[in-house]
């Protein structure tokens, strides 16, 4: 090569090398974020904390969430399934409210039975006020098999099977009009607890408010869970009569305190509200129920209680066994301990040693020691309340008090010996340290983090089990105010995901999730790999109501229309992209039983089914069979069709239902 060529070549090579070195150098200046990423952050006004929050929550397409949160839907009557940390809504499980997309309560016979079981007298209810979901537990840890939920408004409980995330059972409490302290599961889910709230005469009886102290009562119901059947066993369950103190939230003891139940109350004052006939001598509940210095923590010996019930020392109220208050006192089943002001939550620490009561109107959390409670009970010599229930002395049973802030409502725990209490008035979450076996520097407020706004409950990952995971905390905030675009005057709630991984006073806000479809009260957060839901039903002809194959389900080859007098049975199969049969011809006035089976076996191959004008919509998952029953009172030609987009020829998946006039 000539000299000139060689020098040009060297110069070019040198320049190229320099550029490469320069590029490498400049990207290493930004340590973690590349220049282009930093530019995006600047343009969107994101701080480094924001970038880290995004990195901790963003879940790329195809990646599955680490945790699943089951949140109550409040007066939507449903349960929300939310993935974490992405905070994406995955499903709204239909529970007390019909839900058409899932075909829940729009003709499916199984659901008609469910809603009938949940009726209050003659009134069929089509909504509920769901508050506290409880995941089934084994050995005090979530096992991912069942979820229970209560309906505060109407005093009902429901059982949800987590193999297909569908409600299998609704029970109307025969004694209580409403509830609140439910549902909570004992460590092996032998019992599911439903505590009452507003005192009334039990079993829908009538009594004037003047007779409040004598005729009005609280109650707590113990539902026996039959895991093999996957249902609460009505016939093996019973209730306990309590004084009319407005019981509130309950929790089941675990490990050292297993076999005991704890509930708080907030109207020991027995206020009956403003009396229009006597305004001088009465006051509204908000003042009356808060007048006293203390309410009572209810300490129930569940082991002794179940023995008493098993021995038949009950009375029948509305056909349901109940242990009367007199028997409760006689058999030493219940003890009271004073709890300051009008407390809200009672939460048991992971090892079961302490009961944490959140003060609500008192700025403290009051921590009771199970060991001290046992000692006090054994020591005896107590005072009693006006009904005769033994009253333990405050100083005998309290381990510590921590001043956390204004409006403490509810406490959860992590894996580092911290407790987290929601502060409604301060609009904060307080992190404080547990003493005893947990942390050296126990019973101290560690730090707070602002939440937006006015937090009710909170949930930590596996936070009410014997082994919480820590890592994440979700604040269930009641007001969102300026956090989101507001869709008219009804603002969404705000779930805030908070990083609680690092010890110390600091916690980090990661993500705001608007909840515009309900008002969650409490949530349960479980590791996603503990759940094992079906991808398709195990066999074609599967009845989700019994969770087994229905031998009478239509199958390939058994389709058709069978007439027996005025009764017509239609057996139909569904597959991409046709119904078999595609024509059903009957007469006006016929009583129709229509059985359908989705004979697919591939995942996501769901088919819908509707008969216009009959308010019928079904969702049939692969393998599922369902039955609808109705009287063909309207003559005409109806086109049934598949309502769930299923295939390239989804529009052609239709049929004619001809009802010939008589």
């Amino acid at each position: 090569m000539g000299r000139v060529h060689r020098s040009i070549f060297s110069a070019a090579l040198f320049t190229a090398l320099a550029l490469v070195a320069g590029a490498c150098g400049s990207s290493s200046d930004d340590s973690v974020i590349s220049e282009s990423s930093a530019a995006i952050a600047t343009e969107r006004g994101l701080s480094e904390a924001d970038i880290n929050a995004a990195l901790k929550t963003y879940t790329p397409s195809g990646q599955i969430d680490e945790y699943i949160m089951f949140a109550s839907g409040g007066h939507s009557g449903q349960v929300f399934v939310i993935g974490m940390p992405s905070m994406r809504l995955i499903k709204e499980i239909g529970v007390f409210t019909p839900e058409p997309w899932q075909g829940y309560g729009y003709g499916d016979e199984n659901h008609e039975d469910l809603f009938a079981a949940g009726a209050a007298g003659d009134e069929e209810l089509t909504w509920g006020d769901t508050h506290h979901p409880a995941l089934s537990e084994t050995g005090g840890d979530y096992d991912g098999e069942y979820l229970f939920i209560n309906d505060k408004a109407n005093g009902r409980v429901a059982t949800i099977d987590l193999r297909d995330f569908e409600t299998k059972q609704i029970i109307k409490n025969p004694i209580s009009i409403n509830d609140h302290g439910g549902t909570f599961a004992t460590p092996d889910t032998e019992w599911v607890i439903e505590g009452g709230q507003y005192a009334t005469p039990l079993a829908w009886d009538y009594a004037p408010l003047d007779d409040y102290e004598t005729d009005y009562r609280g109650m707590i119901t113990f539902w026996k869970f039959d895991r093999a059947a996957g249902r609460l066993d009505y016939d093996a369950s019973f209730a306990m009569e309590l004084p009319p103190y407005w019981q509130d939230v309950c929790d089941a003891g675990k490990l050292v305190s297993e076999g005991w139940i704890f509930c708080n109350s907030f109207n020991v004052e027995m206020s009956t509200g403003m009396d229009p006939a006597d305004p001088e001598n009465s006051e509204p509940f908000e003042a009356g129920a808060s007048a006293g210095e203390n309410d009572y923590l209810h300490i129930i010996n569940l082991e002794a209680t179940t023995a008493v019930a098993a021995a038949g020392k009950t009375v029948e109220v509305n056909g349901f066994p109940m242990i009367t208050l007199d028997t409760v006192i006689e058999e030493n089943l219940l003890y009271f301990a004073p709890e300051p002001k009008s407390p809200h939550g009672v939460d048991i620490t992971p090892g079961g040693e302490y009961m944490v009561v959140s003060g609500k109107l008192d700025p403290h959390v009051t921590i009771y020691s199970f060991e001290k409670i046992q000692k006090a009970i054994a020591a005896g010599g107590f005072e009693t309340d006006q009904y005769g229930v033994p009253l333990l002395a405050f100083d005998d049973v309290v381990e510590a008090q921590v001043e956390v802030g204004l409006g403490p409502l509810h406490t959860q725990f992590d894996d580092q010996g911290y407790a987290y209490t929601s502060l409604f008035l301060d609009s904060d979450v307080a992190r404080w340290s547990l003493g005893g076996p947990y942390r050296e520097d126990g019973w101290k407020l560690e730090g707070t983090i602002d939440v937006h706004y006015n937090i009710g409950h909170l949930a930590t990952a596996e936070g009410d089990t014997v082994s919480p995971d820590g890592k994440y905390l979700v604040a269930l905030n009641k007001w969102s105010l300026d956090r989101f675009f507001h869709p008219g005057p009804l603002y969404p709630q705000n779930f805030q995901l908070i990083d609680i991984d690092e010890p110390g006073p600091e916690m980090q806000l990661l993500y705001d999730m608007p909840i515009g479809n309900g008002e969650p009260h409490y949530a349960q957060i479980i590791k996603a790999d503990k759940l094992n839901p079906y991808t398709v039903y195990p066999e074609v002809g599967w009845d989700p109501g019994t969770m087994s194959v229905d031998p009478d389900a239509p199958q390939v080859g058994t389709e058709g229309v069978i007439r027996d007098g005025d009764n017509v049975t239609v057996n139909m199969t569904l597959v991409r992209s046709h119904f078999t049969p595609e024509r059903v011809e009957i007469f006006e006035g016929d009583h129709v039983t229509w059985n359908l089976t989705n004979i697919e076996t591939s995942e996501d191959a769901t088919h819908g089914f509707t008969i216009p004008g009959y308010n019928i919509n079904l969702s049939l998952e692969p393998g599922e069979t369902a039955t609808i029953e109705f009287d063909a009172d309207n003559s005409g030609v109806f086109t049934f069709y598949c309502t769930e987009f299923c295939s390239a020829l989804h529009l052609e998946m239709a049929g004619y239902f001809l009802v010939e006039p008589k």
Binding site: G62, V575, R576, S577, E600, T601, S602, S647, A648, L649, E652
Partner: protein, 230 residues
């Protein structure tokens, strides 16, 4: 007459002295034919052909595995998809072949074992089919692949959109929105191994028996050799 024919087929018997002396020479074709028979029998228990299909809405892909007498895998899903294009049902494909497959292949193995006793050129009749079997299998599979892709029901909704096609017997292909890929299963590779073993067995057989056959035909043509035993 029959006896003579049978004798001709069976071929010359080896003198005991020879057998002892040249053990290896005569053992070799026996070993190879026996090995081939075993390999063929085992091949029945392994898949012969594998097909994978990928499309955007099937992130895990679909698979079909062809054994000698059946299909396994996502057959039901594929049947469902096939009806949109008008592909005939898998039930109607290669019915005869599938019904005789196991008996047939075991028969081939049996023929190979019978061939152990045939010392004449007639051995080719007995073991030949085992050599040809892989070719036959491929030809038959190719035929059915072609057949299915060219028997589209014109009334099927998407038959026009897809048009006629022949899925490749090995390697990549495309059917509607599916990218396909096919490859031979272990069973088929064992069938090839059996064919190779048989072919080598034939060569060893020739090397062992040719002199005897030549000697026998000389004997026929010339004087009988009393030292050759029947």
């Amino acid at each position: 007459m029959i006896n003579q024919l049978v004798d001709r087929i069976l071929g010359p018997r080896i003198p005991q002295v020879e057998v002892a002396d040249q053990r290896g020479l005569y053992q070799r074709p026996r070993t190879l034919f026996t090995a081939a028979a075993l390999v063929l029998a085992v091949s029945i228990m392994l898949p012969y052909w594998e097909l994978r299909l990928k499309a955007p809405q099937f992130p895990k892909g679909l698979r079909v595995t062809a054994w000698v007498n059946r299909l396994e895998g996502d057959v039901q899903e594929l049947e469902g998809l096939n009806h949109y294009i008008g592909i005939p049902s898998f039930e109607d494909g290669a019915v005869l072949e599938r019904s005789v497959a196991i008996a047939g292949i075991l028969g081939l193995a049996g023929l190979l074992l019978a061939g152990l006793y045939i010392h004449s050129r007639w051995v080719m009749v007995f073991v030949g089919p085992a050599v040809l079997f892989p070719v036959f299998f491929l030809a038959d599979l190719q035929f059915w692949l072609w057949n299915y892709g060219h028997s589209l029901d014109p009334r099927a909704p998407l038959s026009g959109a897809v048009g006629e096609f022949t899925p490749p017997i090995f390697g990549p292909g495309k059917i509607a929105q599916f990218d396909t890929f096919a490859w031979p299963g272990f069973g088929f590779m064992l069938a090839i191994l059996a064919a190779v073993l048989t072919a080598r067995g034939l060569i060893a057989h020739r090397r062992a028996y040719r002199p005897l056959i030549a000697a026998a035909s000389l004997d026929e043509a010339g004087q009988p050799d009393s030292e050759v035993s029947a």
